[in-house]
């Protein structure tokens, strides 16, 4: 039987090829671009129903979200501070007896709201794989080595200007079972709190120039290219330290829906 007459593997079976998943990704991106051409606004966030990311199939709501006014509960956030986070928790390379393997780096930037104001004294949490692409998580059974000197968890409280800084190592790419030969581009998970609970955000930071970007259904779940590019940190040589560490910058903007609800102000230039 010629290869191309074999029945296609079932969607979500994990047996589909990268090419078929990539074709789905490109079709959705084209659909999003068409909507923008027709006067729609670019999609700022990932689609909740994003079939190339198979885990979203049974987990996205099918009803529209109900839009309501936030009450005071949603307009404020829990307070975090020095009694919650030790200053040493921002350095992921000093948590064990020895130094972790990998490319030592710093990731720093500012947490801002939609008007560019700093989000002060709020909690930033970070977690990541080690340099070999392995998480310290029992469900991660990818056969890459664990590093006894690296856990991959950090926390920090932002400063007066919304600034944060982590010292860590660059994580490796790793395989997953979305489809055959699926690899996640190297990334760091970030969890952020704003001044209002409506600004709560969990996201991922990526590294510039990764060849896996075009193939990754999680990165591509943000159908607008400019929007997903906001997740890529910037290499900043001024942040690199001679004979010590490579420096990346990544600013994060948290904002409630109102600040991005600009339909009436669409520019037509």
């Amino acid at each position: 039987m010629p290869h191309d007459t074999l029945p296609a593997p079932a969607r979500g079976s994990g047996q589909e090829s990268q090419d078929s998943v990539t074709a789905e990704i490109r079709a959705i991106e084209a659909d999003a671009a068409r909507r923008v051409q027709q006067g729609g606004s670019p999609e700022l966030h990932p689609r909740r129903d994003y079939p190339p990311y198979r885990s979203s199939l049974l987990r996205h709501p099918t009803h529209e979200l109900v839009r309501v006014d936030p009450e005071e509960v949603e307009r404020v956030s829990p307070a975090f501070g020095h009694t919650d986070v030790n200053v040493l928790e921002s350095d992921l390379t000093i948590q064990h007896v020895g130094e972790p393997l990998g490319e030592r780096m710093t990731v720093s930037g500012r947490v801002l709201d939609g008007e560019g104001r700093p989000v002060r004294h709020q909690l930033v949490e970070l977690w990541q794989a080690n340099a070999g692409g392995r998480y310290v998580h029992k469900r991660d059974q990818h056969p890459a080595p664990l590093d006894p000197n690296f856990t991959g968890v950090g926390r920090v409280i932002t400063g007066d200007n919304g600034e944060y800084k982590f010292t860590t190592i660059k994580p490796g790419a790793y395989p997953w079972k979305n489809h055959v030969n699926a690899w996640r581009p190297a990334h760091i998970h970030f969890s952020l709190f704003g001044n209002a609970f409506t600004q709560r955000l969990i996201t991922q930071m990526y590294f510039p120039g990764d060849p896996l970007f075009a193939l990754d259904p999680i990165y591509q779940s943000i159908a607008d290219p400019a929007a997903r590019a906001r997740l890529v940190g910037t290499y900043d040589h001024d942040l690199s330290v001679s004979e010590w560490s490579i420096g990346y910058n990544w600013d994060i903007v948290l904002t409630g829906p109102k600040a991005t609800w600009m339909e009436g102000e669409d520019a037509h230039d």
Partner: protein, 204 residues
């Protein structure tokens, strides 16, 4: 793709993010993924008050997907007022002293898709029906979901609540917990399908 939710299609005009706009564009969400278990849950995260607190309640339920299967890798956060309807600005959610009520809790679901918080029933804030704000993260959720847990005993306040009034009547019950013990309230979360929980998006 014709099933985009309005919350996702509404976005900014092309000028946003340009220097002239003066508006900073929101950083997109990404899924929490499957491997946060060693990073985000923390000791006593689900215990906003100790179990022996005189007004302690259990708030619990199961998270299920569109096939009715338990979601074993969901992470839930709650944020709420205290029993008198006051919102805390106390530090210490991550390192609880056992006495200070901070209003924030975090719990991961079990292998049965079940979550449990120990907290107090919130009091009304500004005269509104009291509720617990719930945020749901999980592998497969590209963006977190917000919902609210109301309490069926608050009959009069529920009847006049403006948010509940915006929810289709046949789905309203998905936001109201069921008392299943003297100090226990059950709130199941169905991400998709029959009985799908009402999820909220906030205007500012």
């Amino acid at each position: 793709m014709t099933d985009l939710l309005p919350s996702e299609t509404r976005a900014t005009g092309p000028a946003i993010g340009t220097p002239a706009s003066g508006i900073f564009v929101q950083t997109p969400s990404q899924t929490v993924g499957p491997f946060y278990g060693y990073a985000l849950p923390y000791d006593k995260g689900p215990e906003l008050v100790p179990g022996h607190h005189p007004h302690a309640i259990r708030l619990h339920g199961t998270v299920t997907d569109g096939a009715g299967e338990p979601v074993i890798d969901a992470l839930l956060e709650i944020w709420q007022a205290d029993g008198e309807g006051a919102l805390s600005s106390e530090l210490g959610s991550l390192d609880r002293d056992g006495f200070t009520f901070t209003g924030f809790g975090r719990a991961a679901t079990t292998m049965a898709g079940h979550y449990t918080f120990t907290t107090v029933k919130p009091g009304p804030v500004a005269g509104h029906a009291p509720y617990v704000l719930v945020t749901i993260f999980a592998r497969g959720l590209t963006h977190h979901l917000f919902t609210r847990v109301y309490f069926e005993a608050d009959t009069a306040l529920l009847a006049t609540d403006t948010v509940l009034a915006q929810v289709p009547a046949d789905r309203r019950s998905t936001l109201i917990s069921v008392q299943d013990g003297p100090a226990s309230y059950r709130f199941d979360i169905r991400l998709q399908g029959e009985g799908e929980t009402v999820f909220l998006d906030f205007d500012a």
